[in-house]
């Protein structure tokens, strides 16, 4: 199997789906001539031409809404946000229009659109540029939200997203773009709502999505080596729909849970998961559910401080040792 980067995985998924369906096109800032601000769309303009790979002005509200309108007409736009922090300029289009039009039309109109781009902190760019809005968007019935952590997942899930008849929001991470993994050459699709157990274990469950999954795997190694604790790491992959079954099965097996999230804690994804666990697996719990989130403040710019503000392996290990 060829080893490819996360960046290439996203790129391949788009290219394959554009090959497959001529109604699929990509637009966003710097996606065409510049080959993408993070080079995720590299080569697409050359391959598919200007009609299907479009550089937009810095008008997120305009082009996100334009994409939704085109999707209403049956096209399948892939809209890249240079980062998800800039999607707030287009929040109304996504949260009001993309999420609700199907419902308000009594199911008459579908919105087969994908919004994608990186949404992460940890790169020293300050509060306005470090948002991780999966919880905001997953709050809206009508939107689907996915946060793949690995190249394999990114490719399989983006392909599913492009074929999906509902609006799908994929949140990537600039820090993951260079990560490599073996990915099959033959086509595969990963359905939404299926979590993936990235490491099996018996003593304690970590639940995470996006880059936090990798931090959890690091913390699990430390716990294994230094505390002889065998951790299971559940990678949600998809936030909405959410794989309750895999979460609950793991909790029933280990009886201890830590939810790790690079987002701020209040009304974060972890809050919903903690609710589900206490409701459906209360009797299996041997300790209170713990969360490790970003320290609850706007993202700090200062590099060493931001590293502490985000969940790191150390903070996760600390939380783990408090409940084992």
């Amino acid at each position: 199997m060829p080893e490819i980067t996360y960046r290439e995985a996203v790129n391949q998924a788009m290219a394959e789906e554009m090959d497959r369906d001529s109604d699929t096109f990509v637009m966003g800032e710097e996606v065409a001539q510049y080959d993408g601000a993070y080079k995720v769309t590299e080569g697409l303009l050359k391959r598919f031409g200007e009609k299907r790979v479009l550089d937009t002005p810095i008008s997120e509200c305009g082009f996100a809404g334009l994409g939704i309108g085109a999707a209403m007409m049956g096209l399948r736009p892939i809209v890249e946000f240079m980062t998800w922090s800039f999607s707030f300029v287009a929040f109304d289009q996504i949260f009001n229009n993309a999420a609700n039009i199907r419902y308000m039309s009594g199911g008459e109109i579908n919105i087969p659109i994908v919004f994608r781009g990186p949404g992460n902190g940890g790169v020293n760019v300050g509060a306005t540029h470090s948002h991780t809005p999966e919880n905001f968007y997953a709050n809206a019935p009508g939107l689907k939200v996915i946060c793949p952590a690995t190249p394999y997942d990114a490719k399989g899930m983006l392909k599913t997203a492009i074929r999906d008849n509902d609006p799908v929001l994929m949140m990537e991470n600039t820090i993951l773009y260079n990560n490599k993994e073996e990915v099959p050459e033959e086509e595969y699709l990963i359905p939404f709502g299926k979590a993936d157990i990235k490491k099996e274990g018996t003593d304690l469950t970590f639940i995470a999505h996006g880059k936090a999954v990798l931090t959890c795997l690091k913390a699990a190694e430390i716990l294994e080596a230094e505390y002889e604790v065998d951790v299971e790491v559940v990678d949600l992959r998809s936030i909405r729909p959410l794989d309750e079954e895999t979460i609950l099965n793991s909790v029933k097996k280990t009886s201890r849970v830590i939810i790790v999230d690079e987002n701020k804690p209040f009304c974060g994804v972890g809050a919903q998961i903690a609710y589900i666990i206490q409701e459906k697996a209360f009797d299996y719990l041997d300790a209170p559910i713990k969360r490790v989130s970003a320290v609850d403040a706007p993202q700090i710019y200062s590099m060493p401080l931001e590293q502490v503000q985000l969940p790191n392996a150390q903070r996760i290990v600390q939380a783990a040792t408090s409940i084992i």
Partner: protein, 361 residues
């Protein structure tokens, strides 16, 4: 250069802008100070680039090289009641209103001695004590704020004006149009200033805007507009003064556009290989550099010499070097600082009225 060439060159520097009283009445000292300010900005940015390459600065860092005459020229027209706000290419505006290099460089380093205590970084400089309201990194986000500052000035009855800066790419944000309409409708004392450096990241103006010149968009709101050459301190000052005067005396907003150019990539992360030629950059640097042009004007006017200008460059470099040393030696913020400066109420517990939990884990 032959005698006659030199003479012609000299004559070409005398024009309506240099003869305008706001420039003609400047003292030699004031003029030399503009030169010094531009040179300091240039040297600060070059030192920041060096520190970035050393790994001392991270994240996004946007330099101002090539655009100096716009910030220095416009800000030189500010009076004590006037205010400014800009986007993320904000170092020059900070230095121009009188922030010192040390606090600016320390901010880039993420140090607690920085102007925002290491919390804002390159794109988020602020100095409200100097009427500088930032430093805003979401493209277009500062434009309604600029209208709001002008609204407050009018509301309070001060005679101040707000200078609100943006790039050529920012005019395509909805916020730009909404703010311009409000400013025109409510007659706000604001001057919107487009620093048109021809590119928004890797996209040329022609590939992103349907109207040229960009300032013509003001017509949609029945607002006055003007365009000018952004590498000429004198011209920038005159055009700015005309717009500020309208704002001051009649509460009439203006959209001003200055043509300018940036030498370096969009930010330190831009390899700058795809969207313009090396020749284009070299041509601007060699023939239209605002610092070089103003230097030769000062020499022609007989108030500076090659040597005195070189001395200014040396002094500016030294100052920038010292700021890097200061930044390097300063401490980082403490972990507890992360949750400070979020809410006024939490930072002023003696006045706290809220109950309940403010921060969560």
């Amino acid at each position: 250069m032959s005698q006659t060439e030199a003479k012609e060159d000299k004559e070409s520097h005398v024009d309506a802008f240099s003869e305008n009283p706001i420039n003609k009445n400047l003292t030699a000292e004031e003029k030399i100070n503009f030169y010094r300010q531009m040179m300091e900005v240039r040297c600060f940015e070059e030192r920041a680039v060096h520190s970035y390459q050393q790994g001392k600065i991270g994240g996004f860092c946007h330099t101002y090289n090539g655009q100096e005459a716009v910030a220095i020229g416009t800000i030189s027209m500010m009076q004590s009641d006037d205010h400014i706000i800009t986007a993320y290419r904000d170092h020059a505006h900070g230095l121009a209103v009188g922030m010192n290099m040390n606090e600016c460089m320390a901010e880039l380093y993420g140090k607690v001695t920085g102007c925002s205590k290491g919390k804002g970084g390159s794109m988020h400089f602020f100095a409200p004590d100097k009427n500088y309201w930032g430093g805003h990194a979401i493209v277009g986000g500062q434009i309604p704020l600029g209208a709001g500052i002008a609204f407050a000035l009018k509301y309070k009855g001060t005679k101040g004006v707000c200078l609100c800066y943006m790039g050529d790419g920012a005019v395509n944000q909805g916020a730009f149009h909404e703010a311009l309409n409000l400013a025109a409708l409510w007659k706000l004392p604001v001057v919107f200033i487009i620093e048109n450096n021809r590119y928004s990241m890797g996209t040329s103006e022609a590939r992103s805007s349907s109207v040229s010149p960009l300032a013509r968009r003001a017509l949609a709101y029945d607002m006055g507009y003007d365009t000018g050459i952004g590498n000429s301190v004198y011209e920038v000052r005159v055009k700015t003064e005309q717009a500020m005067e309208k704002a001051r005396s009649k509460n009439v907003p203006t959209l001003l556009e200055f043509d300018t150019y940036r030498y370096r990539g969009h930010s330190m992360s831009d390899p700058d290989k795809t969207y313009r030629t090396k020749d284009e950059i070299a041509d601007y640097k060699n023939n239209q550099d605002p610092i070089m042009l103003f230097g030769s004007i000062l020499i022609d006017e007989g108030i500076a010499s090659e040597e005195s200008l070189i001395d200014i460059k040396k002094e500016s470099r030294k100052k920038a070097e010292a700021s890097a040393k200061f930044a390097d030696e300063s401490p980082f913020p403490e972990i507890e600082d992360i949750t400070k400066d979020v809410y006024w109420e939490e930072d002023n517990p003696e006045h706290k009225t809220s109950e309940g939990t403010m921060f969560f884990k």
